[in-house]
Symmetry: C2
Subunit: 347 residues, 2 copies
C-alpha cells in the first residue's frame, strides 16, 4: 500500500475496469442501453471508462453533478430525480441543455409545470414507484402525468424507476419482477394517453442480474463499478469484485480489539439492519467492525494474530457512494490520483 | 429563508452564540477549563467565538484538523486521539509544535514510542476507557503507560476520556459517574508511578451537565454549539437550542408523504437505535423522516396540511458533526457565509 496518510480510498484499476466491462457486456448481450449512475464515483476518469465501454450516457442525481460531468465532457445526462426547478436552478439547467443532452425526472404535475416554465421543451422521464415508496407516481398514474407534461410542452421520453428495496438479502429477483411489472404498467398507462415510452429505465446493482429485458430498454446501476460490503453481504459481488477499499492504520489495541483510524467520516455511517458491521475487512473476512466513531473503527478480530499498532489494513465501506463523497481524491494502486470532482455536489 | 440552492446548512448566530456562552459560563462556574471539540464545526469563525468566550484551547481529532485551526490562528490544540505517528505525520506534527501548543493522546506503549521518536518531548495525555470501549487504556493501566511515556521523554500532562456511551436516553448521570470514577482511578494510577495528572479532561455534550468538577479539571463537549436531533431526543437540548438546520425543498408528494431533497449526502446517515427517524423537523415535531436516500428524505407528515411541492422546510440532522463535514459552507441567518475549513480533514 502506498505511503500516504490514512485514511484514504484506494482503487484497483484492473478490478474497476473488469467491473465496468462486465456490466457493459451484460447490458449489450441483452440489448439494453446502460446509463450508469455516476453518483457512486463522482469522478470523470471513471465516467470516461464507462462511456468508452459503451454506456449511452450517465445518470446523475443533482444539477451540480450534471454540471460537473458536463464540464468533464460528458454529453448525455439523465437527472433521475424529481427536481424542483425554481428560477435559479432553471437558469443552470438551461445552461446545461444548451450544451449537452439532458433528461429530467418528474413525479408531479407541480414539478413538471415548474420545469416547463424554466426549461421549455425539456426532455423528461416519468418516475414510477416500483415498491421502494420513496418518490415516483403509481404506475397507473404515469399516463396522466405524462399527458400533463406533454401539454406543458415537455418532451416525454419514457418512464423510469429505482428499485431501492432490492437492498435486502435474497430479494433481488422478486424486486426486479416488481420493477418490471410496474414499468410495464406505466408504459401501458402512457399508451392509454397516446404517449409512447421510448425509454423504459430501471435497475439497481443488486437487481441488475435479474433485469427484465422484455420490458426495460435501459439499466442504471451505480455501485457495480466499485462494489462494497453491502454488495458482498448481499451476494451481488464477492470480495474479489471489490475495486475500492479504505486504507486505515491500526491505532490501538484497546480492550484486546483492533482499532482503526477509519470511522464514519471516512467510511460513512450507513448500516442496513442486515449488515454485520460498519464495513468489512477483505483480508480478514471473519473480523467484524462492531463499533464506529467519527475517526474510530473498533474491530472484533478473527482468530489470526492481531496486526501491530501502526500497520495498515484494508476496509471495504458498507455503502461506497457515501464513502466516496467524503473524500476529495481516489488513489489507484498504480499511482494515479483522481479528483472526486462532484464530491458534495448536492444542489 | 435565503434564496440559495437547497440543501444547505443554515446557522442562527444568536442561538449559536447563546450556546457558546452558556457552556463557557457553566464551565467557569464550576472552575473547569473548557476545551471544545472543534470536529463538530470545523469552522474558524466558531472557534474564535469559543475562544473569545473563554475556552482554553480547542480539541481536534486529526493532525489535518489541527493544521486547519493553527492556520486560522488557534494557538492551543489537543489532539484527543491515539495518533499513529509515522515519519510523515511526525514531520507535520513537528511543524505544528514549532508554532502552537499541542498535546497528543496516547493509549499504547507502541504509540507513545512512535510519537517520541518523531516529536521528542511532545506533550501527551493518557487516554482512559471510561466505559465506551472504543480506545483508551483501563484506568489501572494508566500509570504504567504514563511512566513509559515519561521514560521516552514525553511530557505527560494528564489523563482524558470520552464517554461516548452517554449517547443513550436517561443515562447521562450514570455515564458521567463512570467517567469520573475512571478518571479518578487513572489519576491515582499515575500518582502510584510518581506522575501528577495536571489535567483531567473528559466530557461529551450529553453528559456535560453532570460533569464531576471534583475530579475533572477540563471538559471537551463539541455538539453543544449547534445541538442536533440526537440531543433533542436525548433531552440535552430543546428545539429552541438548536442553532443549525438543513434547509430542504419539498420535491414530491409521492404516496401522500412529503419528500425532501435532503438525504444522507446532506444530513449524514447516523441513526442510533433509539432515534425516531433520520433527523427531525423543528417546525413539525410530530413529523418523522421514515426513509432516507442519498438525496431523499421521506417524511411521514404530522396532521397539519402538507407543505406544497417547491416550498422549503427546515431539517435538524441527527448528528450534526457528520452533517457539517458534508458541506463546504455554513450560511448564517444574517447573511454571512463561513467556510468549513477543516471539512474532510481526516488525516
Amino acid at each position: 500500500m502506498l505511503d500516504r496518510p490514512t485514511p484514504y480510498l484506494l482503487v484497483d484499476p484492473d478490478v474497476l475496469s473488469a467491473n465496468v466491462q462486465a456490466m457493459a457486456r451484460f447490458a449489450r448481450d441483452r440489448g439494453l442501453l446502460l446509463r450508469p449512475h455516476a453518483k457512486t464515483h463522482k469522478t470523470p476518469e471513471i465516467a470516461r471508462l464507462q462511456l468508452a465501454a459503451g454506456a449511452t450516457g450517465l445518470t446523475v442525481a443533482t444539477v451540480s453533478e450534471a454540471e460537473a460531468f458536463a464540464a468533464a465532457g460528458v454529453t448525455d445526462l439523465f437527472l433521475a430525480y424529481p427536481l424542483w426547478v425554481d428560477p435559479a436552478r432553471g437558469a443552470r439547467l438551461r445552461a446545461l441543455t444548451d450544451r449537452v443532452a439532458v433528461q429530467v425526472g418528474i413525479d408531479s404535475v407541480e414539478g413538471a409545470r415548474a420545469l416547463a416554465a424554466q426549461v421549455p421543451g425539456c426532455s423528461v422521464m416519468v418516475e414510477v414507484d416500483s415498491g421502494q415508496h420513496r418518490s415516483g407516481v403509481q404506475p397507473s398514474e404515469a399516463g396522466v402525468l405524462a399527458e400533463c407534461a406533454v401539454r406543458t410542452g415537455l418532451d416525454v421520453h419514457g418512464v423510469f424507476s429505482f428499485p431501492g428495496h432490492s437492498y435486502a438479502p435474497g430479494i433481488a429477483a422478486e424486486v426486479a419482477g416488481q420493477e418490471s411489472a410496474a414499468l410495464r404498467a406505466a408504459v401501458g398507462s402512457l399508451a392509454e394517453h397516446g404517449i409512447e415510452a421510448r425509454v423504459v429505465s430501471g435497475g439497481s446493482t443488486p437487481s441488475a442480474s435479474e433485469v427484465d429485458s422484455d420490458v426495460l430498454t435501459e439499466m442504471r446501476p451505480g455501485v457495480y463499478v466499485f462494489n462494497d460490503a453491502q454488495q458482498w453481504e448481499l451476494g451481488t459481488a464477492g470480495p474479489e469484485g471489490i475495486s475500492l477499499v479504505c486504507v486505515a492504520t491500526v491505532v490501538s489495541h484497546s480492550g484486546g480489539k483492533v482499532v482503526l483510524d477509519a470511522g464514519s467520516k471516512a467510511l460513512g455511517a450507513d448500516r442496513q439492519v442486515w449488515a454485520t458491521g460498519y464495513g468489512r475487512l477483505p483480508d480478514h473476512p471473519d473480523a467484524r467492525i462492531t463499533l464506529q466513531g467519527e475517526h474510530h473503527a473498533v474491530v472484533a478480530w478473527d482468530g489470526s494474530p492481531r496486526p501491530e499498532i501502526g500497520s495498515r489494513v484494508r476496509v471495504v465501506p458498507n455503502h461506497v457512494c457515501i464513502a466516496v463523497n467524503l473524500h476529495d481524491e481516489l488513489v489507484t494502486t498504480d499511482g494515479q490520483v483522481w479528483t472526486v470532482t462532484a464530491r458534495g455536489a448536492n444542489t
